[in-house]
């Protein structure tokens, strides 16, 4: 019996870490369900036999390979719905990420299957999958079950750990899929454009991260001075990167980087889930925000309610004085 199908996103000859997490999680759950796990890959010639077969290391028994445009969701919906129907898969599982959300949502419509999103854990109850999903800004966690034969699980970023199962190469199966007409009417013009300077935030022990509360691009000067005094680097939220205040390479969260520094000092960041998933494993979280109701205070170790423009310069001076 076939149990769980995952989607493995790749770019420039490498699989996405969250996809590998989904493949690992899928293999483990399939074992509990008493079935097999497989993965779908979609793309061009860079999907070599060796690359596809390497998903076996994370527990995929089979890899279904389809030649179709990559980086867009709808061609993958066409491929996955066909493989699920032809091979009798019960569940589709996705790691965190934009495409996973879009593909999972498309499959829901196509198959008439239930979907859960932002899932942080999956368990097996009475031979069926049950998804754990935090809701209402993580103030509660609901257990969600699926009605009917099929179900779609979309994980939260970093929810599923990458685990090598010690299994050998996966069997690679080529599938021919006729794409739906609408799936060919969106065309990638440019993919993966990097905007702004290349900065390295993943190796820093100390990060000073700035958000919309800084008010404008110049507000980042305050963060840079403090980061310099602390011997750390500067990071940013998606909102300010999209606004052009800071380079993309410094972005934390859902479509940015995931970090776990010794100190994460968040300046003017409200703490949306999309940001939280990229930094919640920091050892020490300090948040400065003028809004006492900002969600970031719910998961910071030290919260300071106040005006950044007053606090940051004085804090920078005090740190400099202390460190000599």
């Amino acid at each position: 019996m076939t149990a769980i199908l995952t989607y493995a996103l790749h770019y420039q000859g490498e699989f996405n870490k969250n996809s590998l997490g989904a493949v690992s999680e899928g293999a483990m759950l399939a074992g509990e369900l008493g079935g097999e796990a497989a993965a779908v890959v979609v793309g061009g010639d860079d999907l070599t036999d060796d690359l596809c077969a390497s998903l076996g290391r994370y527990g995929a028994a089979k890899v279904f390979r389809a030649r179709a445009p990559e980086g867009l969701a709808q061609p993958v919906v066409d491929v996955m719905s066909k493989v699920m129907e032809d091979e009798g898969f019960r569940y589709a599982l996705f790691g965190g990420g934009l495409l996973g959300f879009e593909i999972g949502a498309g499959l829901t419509a196509r198959l008439g299957a239930g979907v859960t999103m932002e899932v942080t854990a999956v368990k097996v109850q009475d031979g069926k999958l049950v998804a754990e999903r935090p809701i209402l800004q993580d103030s509660a966690v609901v257990d969600v079950g699926y009605v009917g034969e099929r179900g779609i699980v979309i994980g939260r970023l970093n929810a599923f750990e990458v685990k090598e199962s010690g299994q050998g190469a996966a069997q690679v199966v080529d599938v021919e899929v006729q794409l739906q007409e609408h799936s060919t009417r969106a065309v990638m013009i440019q993919r993966g454009e990097q905007r702004g300077a290349d900065v390295n935030i993943e190796d820093a022990d100390i990060l000073v991260a700035g958000g919309r509360g800084l008010g404008n691009a110049e507000g980042f000067d305050l963060c840079e001075s403090l980061a310099q005094a602390l011997g750390g680097a500067v990071a940013a939220t998606r909102a300010v990167v999209d606004a052009g205040w800071y380079p993309y390479a410094a972005q934390i969260g859902q479509t940015g980087k995931t970090v776990a520094p010794k100190l994460y000092l968040a300046a003017g960041i409200s703490g949306a889930i999309q940001h939280k998933v990229g930094m919640q494993n920091a050892e020490n979280i300090v948040a400065i925000n003028k809004d006492p109701n900002a969600p970031i205070f719910e998961f910071s170790d030290l919260g300071v309610v106040g005006d950044l423009n007053k606090i940051l310069p004085k804090l920078t001076d005090a740190v400099k004085a202390k460190k000599g």
Partner: protein, 264 residues
């Protein structure tokens, strides 16, 4: 072209949101408002109209929700929509993403839009997925989290952040586009627009009016069920400093950092 904007009524940001433990649904009582993310979609529609690259004949706000949701439509109209459609029926209560997407897809199909716009997420359900579900029902190309739309030669040139950086994607119409909140700064409605909103056409539809199969919506049509509601894993609450005297605040922060050997 005709643009439909999907909107939703959500509990106001100031309302403490909770789950109703008996119904196992979100308790949606209390003060409500137009989902703030939707205002970006309405603004995007207005900017396409004002941009002049394509003639916009009509902007229609569409919602599914209880009787009270007409107020979200009035707000949408005050922000620029020409008229609105309200799908409302007791049979729709309890619809999950699968059922909601089907119902909205059916109502939208009857409007034959050239472009469907929506916000990136609802402030209450936080599902991020309705756009892609609706697109599959309508058999239209779709993108989510779009932060720039240019209309060129009857096609949309869209930009968004994906896993590996910024992607630029060309999308043919008709299409379903969900916009990120970085796409624009929504305008405020004028007093005149607020007063005039109630006079614009509002078409109220039941499940039967819209041609929706009742067994595919509501509790019966939903493909997920909430089995249990649990408290989140407890994290010890952090220390909070209210900044009154900034010198003292800074001293406390530095002390806190020193204790943890972060200033070494």
């Amino acid at each position: 072209v005709k643009i439909c904007v999907l909107v939703k009524e959500v509990p106001d940001a100031a309302v403490e949101k909770r789950m109703d433990p008996n119904a196992k649904r979100l308790d949606r009582s209390g003060e409500k408002n137009l989902n703030p993310f939707d205002t970006h979609a309405i603004e995007a529609a207005m900017q396409i109209r004002e941009g002049g690259a394509v003639e916009v004949d009509e902007i229609v706000a569409v919602t599914m929700g209880p009787e009270s949701a007409y107020r979200a439509l009035h707000k949408a109209v005050s922000l620029g929509a020409d008229r609105s459609v309200h799908l409302t029926d007791d049979a729709l209560a309890g619809s999950d993403v699968c059922a909601t997407g089907y119902a909205l897809g059916t109502v939208l199909a009857s409007e034959s839009p050239d472009l469907v716009l929506l916000g990136q997420q609802s402030d209450d359900g936080e599902c991020y997925t309705i756009g892609a579900v609706v697109a599959d029902h309508l058999k239209m190309p779709s993108l989510t989290q779009v932060i720039k739309i240019d209309v060129e030669g009857g096609k949309l040139r869209c930009e968004r952040q994906a896993e590996y950086g910024y992607d630029t994607v060309e999308v043919e119409l008709p299409a379903v586009i969900s916009v990120g909140d970085a796409i624009n700064e929504p305008r405020y409605p004028s007093l005149k627009a607020i007063m005039g909103a109630k006079k614009k056409p509002l078409d109220t539809k039941s499940v039967a009016d819209a041609g929706i199969e009742p067994e595919r919506v509501g509790d019966e049509g939903s493909r997920t069920e909430v089995l249990a509601i649990n408290p989140p894993p407890q994290k010890q609450a952090g220390e909070i400093i209210e900044d009154e005297d900034t010198n003292e605040t800074v001293e406390r922060i530095v002390g806190w950092l020193e204790e943890r050997k972060l200033l070494a």
